[in-house]
């Protein structure tokens, strides 16, 4: 982990009973340095390779985490129950500002 570099993370939550897709995102450039460091650490704790989207159980939420740190872009897929190494990041992103839906 090289602290200080810009990291942008987008959380896309889809599925659930309502089947709504909601996008939220955080950018280290917009965060106080302590929170930016925490975001970088949580992103670094994600599995190395972007996961494949497995089918979820009925009406469960499906999460896609998109990471863009300049050097690499990755998309990680998680189904509920969310694995431990992604839980804190998804919780943090679930309170992040809403982004417009993908066109």
């Amino acid at each position: 982990m090289s602290g200080g570099e810009r990291v942008r993370v987008v959380l896309e939550r889809s599925g659930g009973f309502a089947g709504r897709t909601v996008r939220r995102g955080l950018d280290t450039d917009d965060l106080p340095s302590a929170e930016a460091d925490r975001l970088r650490a949580l992103v670094a704790a994600l599995p190395a390779a972007p996961g494949r989207a497995d089918a979820t159980g009925p009406d469960r939420f499906a999460y896609a985490v998109e990471v863009d740190d300049g050097a690499r872009r990755g998309r990680h897929h998680f189904a509920e129950p969310v694995p431990a190494e992604a839980k804190d990041l998804i919780q943090l992103l679930s309170r992040a500002p809403l982004l417009p839906a993908r066109g």
Binding site: M1, E12, S14, G15, G16, F17, A18, G19, R20, T21, A44, A45, L46, P47, A48, A49, G51, A53, D54, A55, T56, G57, P58, D59, R60, F61, A62, A64, P83, E85, A101
Partner: protein, 359 residues
């Protein structure tokens, strides 16, 4: 630090190299060793309808009649638990079968909704609970923090309280409860894969029977029902009437925050997406509208003919776990003819053609 990628969870439906009809022939004609092997292979698909088909084969091969098992007494065995805002299941039991109502409205709604769904399946289809073997029903309420969802986890029902801004508590709509428990029925009978078209069929089947649970409870005819899914679920101020409309997919809500109901009512509007397991909650609008068309085509109580046809389709050994809309539709037409007559088959066929599904 990089962690190891998580292991891949094996899927429930293990693909089999040999088609079931060949395995069934082996069971019928093979040696005892061959029969054991074929039965073991077939039993990888543990859905009820397959078990039924295999049992019938074995019974036929034994060529002797056995007395039919005495049906178990059918009455609901309900337990409602409270997670108290945590995500730990099942939580503390707060109301068991036969106990009086409590002060918590979510507990009572869950208790009553489970009862209404049990009664519907029992009275209309002679089905003894979710698994047709009298499964005790467990529901947890107050799951998570402002949790905007309800789901069946394979063993029990789970209800969130909603965020209060977009969604109310998820126990509020009887059709939501019927929808979730029907996921258990579908898993047990058909095992429809929760992805793309079979996933949208899985969702639609839950909407169909969720709505029928409500219509049965209210004694409504197809013409008089609202055909809404999740009525009462949208929080005050949200512009919409429900989450989905089977009668008019795409019209349930249109709100600045929630967005617009994007369900298609016709194959021409089928949505291809990687989100939501391939848009299972979106494309379900197409088979939902087909069912509505069938119900209106017959008229009267929708559970008597349209519901019966859908239920027997779900139980049919011809229904594959990866069924397309068209494959499902073809079986509904055959079931309509076999349960009723050619005219019924025509009503069902026209209903699917009206939504652009080839049958």
């Amino acid at each position: 630090m990089h962690l190891e990628p998580r292991s891949i969870v094996p899927t429930r439906q293990t693909p089999c190299a040999l088609p079931p009809n060949i395995l069934e022939r082996i069971i019928r004609n093979g040696t005892e060793t061959q029969r054991d092997w074929a039965l073991a292979t077939l039993s990888l698909d543990t859905t009820n309808r397959m078990v039924r088909a295999h049992n019938a084969q074995v019974a036929a091969s034994l060529a002797r009649k056995r007395p039919r098992p005495v049906p178990a007494t059918t009455s609901a065995r309900r337990t409602i638990a409270d997670a108290r805002g945590s995500e730990t299941l099942p939580g503390t039991t707060v109301r068991a079968e036969g106990q009086a109502a409590v002060s918590d409205v979510a507990v009572n709604e869950a208790y009553d909704g489970l009862g209404a769904t049990f009664d519907f399946y029992s009275a209309v289809f002679n089905r003894n609970s979710i698994d047709d073997e009298g499964l005790a029903l467990l529901a947890t309420v107050h799951y998570g923090d402002h949790y905007d969802n309800a789901f069946w986890n394979g063993e029990q029902m789970v209800f969130g309280d909603g965020d209060g801004e977009l969604f109310n508590r998820f126990t509020v709509s009887l059709d939501v409860i019927g929808h979730e428990l029907t996921h258990g029925v579908t898993e047990d009978e058909a095992g429809l894969a929760y992805l793309n078209q079979p996933g949208a069929l899985n969702e639609s089947v839950s909407d169909v029977f969720g709505s029928l649970v409500k219509q049965y409870k209210l004694g409504q005819k197809a013409e008089d029902a609202d055909w809404l899914i999740g009525e009462g679920l949208l929080a005050p101020g949200v512009q919409g009437v429900a989450l989905r409309s089977m009668k008019a997919p795409g019209t349930a809500y249109d709100d600045p925050v929630l967005g617009k109901d994007d369900q298609p009512a016709n194959m021409a509007g089928y949505v291809r997406t990687s989100a939501d397991n391939g848009g299972v909650h979106t494309n379900s609008g197409i088979p939902n509208k087909a069912f509505y068309n069938v119900a209106i085509g017959f008229g009267g109580h929708a559970w008597e003919k349209a519901g019966k046809i859908w239920y027997e389709t779900l139980r049919s050994s011809r229904l594959r776990t990866n069924a397309s809309f068209s494959a499902f539709a073809t079986i509904t037409v055959a079931e309509a003819r076999s349960l009723f007559d050619a005219d019924a088959g025509k009503i069902v066929q026209d209903a699917w053609r009206a939504v652009g599904v080839k049958v």
